[in-house]
Symmetry: C2
Subunit: 737 residues, 2 copies
């Protein structure tokens, strides 16, 4: 029935429960469904079942059939949706004993085959018994994955693996990762600098071993087994980028609140919240082990178990059981999960709209090469916050111009003036003359130029380059109105289709006298007079990736000395990232090109291995002669050793832009402009995932390359190990000039 | 003119010389050609040439043309073959100074473009100035390589990089890696555990950084700069597997012998010999710097410079100069190189024949699935040594049988007997009956069976399974003759074409009465009587890879209790290997399949990262019930930290086989049977080269998997980092049953 009616956290609303072997699937599903759970996780065979003799079946011989009573039996596809199979926990494909090993491999193959036959959606696999050494386990899974088309394998991965004997580990896994903290020597990788604390192994290492051998197959996921002790938040964060399919939550991990109800510690609550937000399902495991008091009507206002017994609205949730007479012993746990799920903050409207774009690869726009569609402009224009920032930037620039003009008493030439005087009529005429080559230079614009500044106030020449359907014209006009400045605006736009919309706007706003429309490419247009302010919105997700530098270099020809470019400067930022989803999606194209293309992505299930580092900065106007927009940067990302090892799938990119003065426009997480949604981050993939040992720095090289007709990036990882340069010579991806 | 007339060491016979900038190529080539050198290495531009202003050319702008006097000018393609270009040594694409960096990048592009235009075969690149950090250098090379189709880039790699300031390194490189041993701090990778000794960087690390970023491009090679101090032999050995194109040998590295002639130290001689054998050319660099006495007729028997002045035949070589009057100052160096080259041991006939197979990938035979061609059999049969070993094994087995028979006084049943008595006629008849289903069961064979053992001596039943054209029949008959034992031989062969050859052999040898030909698959044939000895030659390069185990399991049905299989057992061996050539060749197929296929290869330019480890063993007869021929092994290869880091391209495989008792047949290097050439090693490639840090162990997993219709291997590297399992489920390569 779901943990709550809300739909904003995807699959996370469905909770499962691990139950003993059942001979009657419909009855079991029904029983737990009454208790609230949406699906059951149940053994595929009886605990004592072993592969029939010969104990060592010859490879290639047919596996012996199951006995009907020994195995999970589902005769209706409707139940298959509500049942997740569980592979026997005794299976040890990497046992040092060859007999155990062979029996384990045979049993594992047998059970996986049976689960696939039943059409189950997923199977939970026991944790590797030797976490640091599980090649045989990985090999059997790898072979099985080759034959699977839809059934997922959920490998149980204890978040923390206590460094104890294998026998104990087996029990621990069955009982829900109890028995932490013992320190018997087990050896193996991950023990050093373990983020799991002293005497414990990092469960992530076991996971990585298996999935690396399985070549990062998409049907292999992790079912994280939560223990009573949690690793550091930094190490938990790695799982955001991994293929986590479920969280296994043993009842033993719960504590009792004052009223005796099972509740979770604050860190456990935060862990669950994190996974709920990632859309990860919870599976309750183990028997009820809390003495819940007999149901009684909750006394209103009674002192409840602090954080847990009171809902977000302050009313006592009381864990009331709908049918007290039939109360299932696990019901209080389910009630508590419902409580945790329901009290998650509501997902904002914007994020909800962006949900369908989460971790979805988009090839960046090429606005210079292609003309955008009206709908694309419309989407951009919905970003009210962005244009408010532009308005503020223009406003501040105008105010500064006014102040400078006031400070300067004498004026001799309009070219020396911070603000063109109304006597600058000659330029106005010249403009009229020039714009005739623009197809949509309207008579109204000419009239505006002729009458411009007729009121005697100061007139500022402002050019919007890349005006699109006109939102920056609107923002500029508003700013001018606030500043009490009269503008002479040139709206330069190369897309003839977009201009029609500007014309319409000018007519409806009555701005025809103040705004001239110029249908031209800003790089080639001959401006009739110098501009004091140049406004543009040419930035891509990585700042310069839509060729803002090249466009503005071309446009700055008609900027007056001392003129202002809005934006003034912008800087790109990068961070190394884990994202199984994105790696898998890029890999699915099965070619080199897609691994050498940056993507615009609403990053969701991802983990940043380290804080971002600044990369390339561009400032406008650019006084260099000649201007060199090629760039190179080598950046080193240092990592917290306590966060453990991680896998690197690529780099997340952002930008931060100074529009004017302190008006910042940013999608860089530490400074992200509030409520602004025009840009998703950019993602630079890597051809092969890179294992990054705990504490090892990541070093990457990035080049912005320019040729006569295109601009492109090349990138490479040089530490912890040197890898190939991606997109050499722009062979796979470039932006056309 | 070549260092010698011998052709057995390939290109190594051609030596080059590094010369200053020349404005007259024909004259320069001619001058050095007179001195003996086959080609010159000369700067592409004058030393003081710099890219013309603008110092920072805008990317995409055309490079300024050279001035005719500033650059190497070749107006005839005939000279291009004798000239290798040298890129200016001042170039520092990774200089911390952006201006130097940009000028370096521009100059490097400029010079490479010019060299390609001239049609040079190769260009020598200066060593990275910052060996541990040269991403920009790598990026320019990577871009250049994209556009090259035949011109090779030879990156100068000092074997040892003294850990000094960059300025010093520059000079050191120009002067031939002098100035070793200074210990100024430079930092960077490779300093720790450097195989180059304390205070020195491992040149291999710089090489690896560059070529990894260049994605292991085949046109990028190393020109190894030899210094006065050499690193350890273990670290030098790594270069065997790398793409080494030339050895740069500075005159300053030579010492003077007692007579004042330039000679090399013993380690340097060994180094040169190693590269000569790999077919690597030597380039002499620097000015003559030894005071060679004026030419005088060498006094016969005069005490010469120990190891160097006396030829292998004891006669003084004397470094006589053909034209004393015109003697070039570098002539004594060239003479010495000639001396070193000429005294290399002659390549044996067998190795010479195999030269064309060196590092050439062959997909293993599938003798079970396919019938071999007569020519293939003929090639096999040429291996006299192999059949001598078989003869010896059969001889010893027969001797042991005789001894056992003598020890056993009472005989009751032929099945208990180590040797079938002559009264075993019934079996003979049965055989006659059975073999009628074989198409070539000749009347002669029946007659042989009828008359078998007529002389009353002991008769041993020996079956050759997979008789081919009969070489094992011949070896067995010879052994029997030596042992004084009469054999009743069944020659079982599934290829009906091969049988014709056996028939011919029996006729010419007069063995028709002793040998029955059975045209059948040994796995399905019903033998007329039990065999006491089963002889087969079903081994592949990896022992079991041509399905010897499966075939012999099938054939052992007709082995008498206590019967002997020749071979008795065999074990496969593996070692991690560097082989740029093989990696490149596999990669050239541009698909996954070829990376998941083992190849039979005459390994030549390869380096084993560690000693071999045993993998799978099979013994015959196999008493297990049921027989399981699947295998799994996890092997760890430990490495000498002093050997430095290395790159892993795959695994070299071998086998060792006990034919009978102490008769060993082996292609495992430590025990390789002398003069036996039937098997080349096997090579298991890896999809991606793996960087193995100095001292880090390599761990690999290998599975031999069996299904009803095929057998295949799967393999994976799990340390230093876990990688994907190759050939999952036999998807790319298998051997059909």
């Amino acid at each position: 029935m779901g943990l709550g009616k809300r739909t904003d956290y995807g699959d996370a609303k469905y909770a499962g429960v691990q139950v003993p072997f059942t001979g009657d699937v419909p009855a079991t599903v029904e029983a737990y469904s009454l208790c609230g759970f949406d699906f059951v996780v149940t053994p595929l065979v009886r605990d004592n079942w072993r592969p029939p003799a010969p104990a060592v079946p010859e490879n290639g011989s047919l596996p012996s059939p199951f006995n009907r009573d020994d195995c999970l039996y589902i005769n209706s596809s409707q139940w298959a949706n509500q049942v997740v199979g569980q592979v026997s926990d005794w299976i040890q494909p990497d046992s040092p004993d060859p007999a155990v090993r062979q029996q384990s491999v045979a049993a594992l193959r047998h059970q996986l085959g049976w689960a696939a036959h039943l059409g189950l959606q997923a199977v939970v696999l026991p944790p590797p018994h030797r976490p640091a050494r599980c090649p045989n386990y990985a090999q059997v899974l790898s072979q099985a994955l080759q034959g699977l088309t839809h059934m997922a394998l959920w490998l149980t991965v204890p978040l923390v693996i206590s460094n104890q004997s294998e026998q104990d580990q087996q029990q621990g896994a069955q009982q829900g990762a109890q028995g932490q903290g013992r320190t018997e020597q087990n050896g193996g990788a991950g023990a050093a600098a373990s983020p799991a604390g002293p005497g414990a192994l990092d469960g992530w290492e076991a996971w990585h071993q298996v999935r690396a051998q399985c070549d990062h197959h998409n049907l292999l996921g992790a079912a994280l087994l939560v223990g009573p002790t949690l690793p550091s938040a930094a190490s938990l964060d790695r799982w955001r980028g991994e293929s986590v399919k479920a969280v296994l939550l043993p009842t033993a991990v719960f504590t009792a609140n004052k009223r005796g109800y099972p509740v979770l510690s604050k860190p456990h609550q935060e862990l669950l919240a994190m996974f709920f937000k990632m859309g990860v399902q919870v599976v309750l495991t183990g028997e009820a082990c809390h003495d819940v008091p007999p149901p009684a009507p909750p006394a209103p206002g009674a002192p409840a178990g602090a954080a847990v017994a009171v809902g977000p609205d302050g009313s006592p949730l009381g864990f009331s059981i709908s049918n007290p007479g039939e109360a299932h012993p696990l019901r209080p746990y389910w009630d508590y999960l419902c409580f945790l799920f329901r009290r998650l903050e509501a997902v904002g409207e914007q994020e909800r709209q962006e949900a369908s774009y989460r971790d979805y690869l988009q090839v960046p726009l090429q606005p210079l090469q292609d003309n955008l569609e009206s709908q694309t402009y419309e989407t951009f224009e919905k970003d009210v916050q962005k244009y408010k920032l532009y308005e503020e930037a223009v406003y501040k620039a105008l105010k500064d111009k006014l102040a400078a003009a006031a400070a300067s008493s004498e004026t001799s030439s309009p070219y020396d003036l911070p603000i063109a005087s109304t006597s600058g009529r000659g330029s106005g005429r010249q403009h009229h003359h020039q714009t005739t080559h623009g197809s949509s230079s309207s008579p109204a614009a000419a009239a505006a130029a002729a009458s411009g500044g007729g009121d005697g106030g100061p007139v500022v020449v402002l050019m919007v380059v890349g005006a699109g359907r006109g939102p920056l014209v609107r923002a500029s006009m508003r700013a001018a109105s606030r500043a009490g400045v009269r503008l002479r605006v040139y709206a330069v736009e190369k897309n003839p289709n977009a201009i029609v919309h500007i014309q319409q706007m000018l007519r409806s706003e009555g701005w025809e006298a103040d705004v001239s429309i110029v249908s031209a490419d800003m790089r080639h247009w001959q401006a009739p007079e110098p501009a004091e302010i140049l406004v543009s919105e040419l930035l891509g997700s990585f700042g310069d990736n839509e060729l803002s530098p090249e466009c503005l270099d071309g446009a700055q020809r008609f900027l007056a000395p001392g003129g202002i470019s809005i934006p003034q400067s912008y800087t790109s930022y990068l961070a190394p990232a884990t994202s199984h989803k994105l790696h898998h999606d890029v890999k699915s194209y099965k070619d080199l090109e897609h691994f050498e293309t940056p993507y615009v992505v609403r990053l969701h299930r991802h983990h940043l291995l380290a804080a971002t580092q600044p990369l390339f900065t561009f400032s406008h106007p650019n006084p260099s002669e000649p201007i060199d927009n090629s760039r190179y940067a080598s950046v080193t990302f240092t990592r917290d050793p306590a966060a453990g090892a991680a896998v690197l799938h690529g780099f997340a990119g952002y930008f931060e832009c100074s529009l004017y003065g302190d008006v910042l426009l940013s999608i860089h997480p530490p400074s992200h402009s509030e409520n602004m949604f025009s840009w998703f981050p950019i993602f630079f993939p890597l051809r092969e995932p890179v294992y990054v040992p705990a504490g090892a720095p990541v070093e990457m090289q990035m080049w912005r390359c320019c040729s006569a007709h295109k601009v492109w990036y090349e990138w490479a990882v040089t530490a912890p190990v040197a890898g190939p340069i991606h997109n050499v010579g722009g062979r796979s991806y470039w932006v056309g000039l």
